[in-house]
Every structure is written in C-alpha cells, then in structure tokens.
C-alpha cells in the first residue's frame, strides 16, 4: 500500500467559494440565460420565434423558466451536473458560449443555498433538488484500490427524481428555482436599481438573441434588444474584413457611430452572438498600440465590431466569466492586427474632423442626422460585395470633408482676453462691429495695419 500520499482534493466548501468569487450576480444570471439560449439554438439557430425565457427575481426567490427544449437525463448525468467538461464530452457543435461545464452550478451556488432544476426533454422529465449546506457535508465510504479498510470521502454527486406525472413544466424546457438566497443576493434582489441594471445588461449582452425573436421576461416585463449601430451609406462604408483562424470565423466591421455618448465608443466583441466586450477603449483592442493613438474624446464616433464564431466553443478566446477576451490566445493575437489595421484610417479621419475646430461638432451631428444606420445584427449578415462578387476585405470609405475649412483652421489660432465691458461696448459701437468676436478681428487687423506687420 502506498502511504506516501498527500490528498490534493479540494473540500466542497472551498471549491464553491473559489468558483463563485470572480463572478458577479448579473453575470451569474446571464450565464443561466446563456444555457437557455443554447437550448434555443439546438431547436433552431436562425430564428427563435415562439421561444421564451421568464425570469422572476425577488427577495425570496429566484427562478428562470424556459420552453427552449430542456436537457435529457443523459446530459444531466454526464455533463450538466458534473464539474468541468469531461475530456470525452462530444464536441459542442451548436455555436454556444457555455464550455467549461461550470456555468450553471456556479450561478446556482452564487445565488442561494437551495436550488431545484426541473427539465422536460422528450420522454425525460426529472428534478434535481439540492440543499447546498447538506450537499457540502455529504460523504461516502469507498474502499480504495490496494487498501483493505474503507475510507470516507466527499460525495460530489447530486440526486435526481424522475417525474412521471406532476412537475411544473408542461412543454419541453427547464425550470430552475433558487431559494434561501445568500444574504448579499437577497439585498440586491430587493433593490429596484439592481433589477433595472440587470434589465439593461440583458438587453445589451443578449441583443442578438432578443433581436432574433427570443422573448425574455423579467418579472413579467418583456425586454428589448439594445442596438449597436454603425453609419452606413455609399459615402460612408465601414472597414470590413473576414476570414478564419483555427476553426474560428472572424468578421470585423468598423466605422462611425452615434456622436454624444463617449461610453458607446470603442470596440464590441461578440462570441457566438453573445456580447463579451463592450465599447472597449483600452490596449486590449489595440488603442495606444504601435501607431494607434490612445482613446481620446475626438474618437467618440469610432465603433468597431468583431464577430467571432465557432462551432467548437472551446476555440473561442473567451474568459471563464464570458466577460472578456483572453488576450493571450493565439487566435485573438492573430486577429488584433486586423482590428488595428481597421483603426488607422478611421481614426485619421476623425482626427481630420477635429481639425475643423468649432465646426467639427456640427459636422459630426450632420453626419449622424443624414446617414443611414445598420445594427450589429444586420451588419453581421450583410454581405459586402462588388458587382455581385463577395469581398473578403474592404477599406473604410470616409464621408467627404471640406478640406478648405480644415486647411483654414489649421493655420489659425484663437486669441482670448478679458477687457472692461463698457469700454468694449464703446469700441464695438465705434468700430460698427456686430459682435465682440468681430470687434476682436477688427482691432487685430487695425494693429497689424498700424504696425505695418
């Protein structure tokens, strides 16, 4: 018998604490929504008409119910309730974002101390009901190979009940309920500000699914997808590039967007249609790298969208929290130079607009008011073609600028000073100037003339 063994197994309590530490409640809830959407994808990945998810959130209970197909008992046994995806798990060829086999359990542990998961999937109908505190203490006795005496070890299994009749679900789908909410969760769930922020998050992060017809209700209210939009016309065409790196299809569309909200400027990254990076203005998406300047308020109209799609979700450069990109991934490192390439001409154009000085803002506004828009969902399926031939790459076409205005602004400086008001009025009257601005020009010209400069 080998006695030189140090057990490295984590305790369940430690494990739960670790996996739930780095995820916010919002992300935990969106993770559960992702699972439902993965189900919807298995039914029809193009359109989600008739499919819904209902979220109920209050200080007593959290529940999420959907009619998105549910999951079979076999899936529950092999994957859904296991920690981590087994190596022999089948490839997830359905363009999902769930992949580490950790999402659902992590979310449930994060929210409360008692959860139940009911699934109806064809002939399978079952319920897993878990009291987390009891589960943490659950042990079993096994006789290890090469040992004579039985050893007590942690029991990580979950029990299920088959539901021949009864159960809450009438159609194929899933119903998850969490009660005995964790104290900090209970506090949040009773705060209307949290609920409205959650609604915002869902509308942004899952806008693709919402715009494809999936209905998501939060405490009975239907949510609507928030759009990311680019200006698009014959004179203002986004930069466009697409290709494939190691089984990940990428598509870059970058150009100009709405003026006014600096928080909306930057890069958006979708992985299998799920927004994972939003309005990024950091080095992660190329800002401030090589010749690309750091983000500046002059770049407020910049919008870039990167779509990454893969049937094998493990290939996507996602972090486990799905709230960001793994920038060390070879795939992302290969695509980032293309994103920087997109930025060069667009940022140069925005720099030129800013050279228009006091006319820059009205020009920006005019562009926004007179140019059509296309949403991220529309842009993804839009084919960029010339004479019917699809393009794989296209440079940014910038709206025309009045070069004369820029040239004039480039050669001028603004002089400002304070003077006595009544004296200024006298001088203005004397010079027959219609404004102080005009008086400034007249007096400056006068000085030049008198001094023969």
């Amino acid at each position: 018998m080998n006695t030189n063994v140090i057990e490295g197994n984590p305790t369940k309590k430690f494990f739960i604490e670790m996996i739930t530490r780095d995820i916010s409640i919002e992300d935990a809830i969106v993770d559960l929504l992702d699972n439902s959407i993965d189900g919807a994808n298995r039914i029809n990945s193009a359109i989600y008409d008739g499919l819904w998810i209902k979220l109920t959130i209050n200080d007593k209970e959290f529940s999420i119910e959907d009619n998105c197909g549910g999951f079979s008992l076999e899936t529950a046994k092999k994957y859904a309730f296991r920690f981590g995806r087994p190596e022999d798990a089948p490839k997830m060829r359905n363009n999902t974002v769930g992949r580490f086999g950790i999402g659902m359990k992590r979310s449930l542990f994060k929210i409360g101390k008692h959860f139940s998961v009911e699934s109806l999937c064809g002939s399978d109908h079952f319920l897993v009901d878990v009291n987390v505190e009891e589960w943490e203490k659950k042990t079993k006795t096994v006789t290890l190979p090469g040992e004579d005496t039985p050893t007590m070890i942690d029991d990580w299994s979950f029990n299920y009940h088959e539901l021949d009749r009864g159960g809450a679900l009438q159609n194929d789908g899933t119903l998850i309920k969490v009660t005995s909410l964790n104290p900090e969760v209970q506090d949040l769930f009773s705060d209307t500000r949290f609920i409205s922020e959650l609604a915002e998050d869902i509308q942004r992060l899952l806008n693709f699914s919402l715009l494809r017809g999936l209905q998501i209700y939060l405490n009975g209210t239907a949510l609507e997808g928030k759009k990311v939009e680019l200006l698009i016309s014959d004179e203002c065409m986004p930069y466009y590039d697409e290709g494939e790196v190691r089984d990940v299809k990428y598509k870059i569309v970058a150009g100009l967007g709405e003026i006014g909200e600096p928080k909306k400027s930057g890069w958006y990254i979708y992985c299998n249609d799920r927004l994972v990076v939003e309005a990024d203005e950091t080095t992660m998406t190329g800002w401030g790298l090589s010749s690309i300047p750091k983000w500046h308020v002059n770049h407020v109209m910049f919008r870039g969208i990167l779509y990454l799609d893969s049937q094998e979700t493990m290939n996507l450069p996602l972090t486990t929290t799905k709230k960001g990109i793994d920038t060390t991934s070879e795939i992302y490192k290969a695509i980032l130079p293309r994103m920087k390439d997109a930025m060069i001409n667009i940022l140069d154009y925005l720099k030129k607009i800013s050279l228009m000085g006091d006319q820059a803002n009205s020009y920006r506004r005019m562009l926004c008011d007179t140019t059509e828009r296309a949403s991220a969902v529309e842009l993804k399926s839009l084919s960029f073609a010339v004479n019917g031939e699809p393009l794989v790459h296209k440079n940014f076409i910038s709206p025309p600028l009045d070069e004369d205005v820029i040239a004039q602004k480039k050669n001028t400086v603004r002089i400002a000073y304070d003077v006595n008001k009544s004296k200024a009025n006298d001088a203005k009257h004397h010079a027959e100037a219609s404004s102080y601005k005009e008086l400034g020009s007249i007096t400056f010209d006068y000085y030049l003339r008198m001094e023969d400069i």
């Binding site: 790298l289 010749s291 980032l336 130079p337 390439d341 001409n345 140069d348």
Partner: protein, 290 residues
C-alpha cells in the same frame, strides 16, 4: 544606389512589380524606375496640387495619379501585389509615417520593397531636440523602451529613427504572420544619411519583405558596402568639376596618379576618398541653356 540594389533584387523574384511613390511634379523616381526597371504599373500619390496639374506633368501614361494624403491613398491601392514603394516625405519623422508603414506591411507580399526618406532631425515645435520624455509623449509605444537619454541629438537621431522604424516593420510583420500560412520576414537593406542640395539633412531607410524560408544570401548584397550597415551609411558627394571627375576616373586606384592629382593641388585626398565611395552611383547633371 537604390537603383543598383533594386536591379539586383527584382530579377530574383521573377514577378511583375508595381511602383508607388510621391512623384511630385518632376516624377524623377518614376522616370528612372520605368526606364531602368521596366515597371509599367505606377502610382503617384501627391497632396497639394490640383489633379489636372499632376496629370499634365506626368511623363508616362502608365502612371496613375492619386491626389491626396498617403494614409488615404495607400488604402486605395492594391498593395497585395508585389510592390516597390518609396515614400519620400517632406518633413521630419511623425506618426503619419508609421501609419503608412503599418498599412503597407499589413499587405505587401514576398519580394516587395519598402523605402522611406525623411528629414532626420528630431525636433519639437520650438526647434529643440526632443527630450526622451517628449519623444515618448509624441510617439508612444513606437519608441523602444530602452532608448538612451540623448537619443534625438543630431548625431543620434538617425539611429533612433532607424530603431523605431525597424521595430515597427518587424512587429507589424510578426503580428501579420499569426494569420499567414507562409510566414514572412523583413530584411533591412537601406540605412543611409545624406544632405539634400538645399541642405536638408535626410535619412533613407528600407528593406525587403521575404518569405521566412527564403535564404537572404541569395540576394548577394555582399558587394554593396552600403547595404544592411548597423550604422547609417553616410553619402558625401565631393565637390568636383566635370573635368576633375574625368581626370580622377582615369587615375582611380592607381596610387601614383592619384598622388599626382593631390600634389598638383587639383584634388584633396578627402575628395578622392569620398568620390571612390559613390562614383558608380552618381548621376550626371549638366546645366543646359535651352
């Protein structure tokens, strides 16, 4: 000098080249490359003149005029074709030059040649040499992290410019390689300082993009002492009359005859040294009364 290297490189790759440059109104480089290198597809980018004037002055119909700034116009030209690109900038080093460089290096294929020239002085708006922190302020991550303190004094400026450009060439290619089946590499060739006839202190930098598997020894650059030098190669043109140059040509490398020219006070030893370095590449200019 550029021509001699280009005529060595081009036949090796057996591909048709396009030329992209800033032709101005004189199109000097275009005339030379069309006649000497037989390049028939040429693009001239020029800013500040009406298109009609540029079209009128172009010497050959094969030159396409692109009026506008290089950053805009380079994107409109198909740079995925084998290219020779020489961007002869008017001013000093600025961030636009790196933007052009990155557009180019994200696209040009194996065998393509990139060349740039600019004024080699590195000075701020007050005509003072950039301090290290000013340089980092203006050029950000393009400045190598370990650059020395007085990197912009006139004697160091060409070293600094070369380092910054080379770093950006290599990094852009390195990033691009992540997506390429056949990886590329950049082989620096030109690193030259010279004075323009109006006294501007100029710097020319450039090199060739090659497939990673390509053996650069095949380029046989060993006979060109100005290729791939770690220090900038200094072109100094001796001030000789036509008659003096002819006499020197006949005496070249014959020690007694060279000494004779010196002892007769026709030429200085310095003139002969400078002349030997560059006489093969010197164009001849004549004043002609038309």
């Amino acid at each position: 000098m550029l021509l001699s290297v280009l005529s060595r490189i081009i036949p090796l790759f057996q591909q048709e080249y396009q030329y992209i440059g800033f032709g101005g109104l004189s199109f000097t480089d275009f005339k030379m490359f069309h006649r000497e290198l037989h390049i028939n597809q040429m693009f001239s980018i020029e800013y500040g003149y009406p298109k009609e004037k540029l079209e009128f002055n172009k010497p050959y119909s094969c030159i396409q005029i692109h009026p506008g700034r290089s950053i805009d116009e380079l994107s409109k030209i198909d740079l995925t074709k084998p290219s020779i690109i020489w961007l002869d900038y008017d001013g000093c080093l600025n961030s636009d030059i790196f933007e052009d460089l990155e557009i180019i290096f994200n696209r040009i294929p194996h065998g393509s040649i990139y060349l740039m020239s600019c004024n080699r002085q590195m000075r701020n708006g007050d005509n003072q040499e950039y301090t290290k922190s000013e340089l980092k302020e203006v050029f950000g991550p393009l400045v190598p992290w370990d650059i020395e303190d007085k990197c912009c004094v006139d004697s160091k400026a060409p070293y600094t410019i070369r380092r910054m450009l080379e770093l950006d060439c290599i990094n852009t290619i390195k990033d691009r390689n992540r997506m390429l089946e056949h990886r590329l590499k950049f082989e620096p060739i030109f690193n030259i300082t010279y004075e323009e006839y109006r006294g501007a202190r100029m710097f020319t930098y450039g090199g060739v993009v090659l497939n990673e598997s390509f053996n650069e020894k095949l380029l046989h650059f060993e006979e060109f002492d100005f290729v791939g030098t770690p220090d900038p190669y200094k072109i100094e043109i001796p001030n000789l009359t036509y008659r003096e140059a002819m006499a020197l040509n006949q005496a070249l490398n014959i020690e007694d005859e060279e000494t004779l020219l010196i002892s007769k006070k026709i030429l200085k030893e310095e003139d002969i040294r400078k002349y030997k370095k560059c006489y093969k590449y010197l164009p001849n200019f004549y004043d002609v009364r038309i």
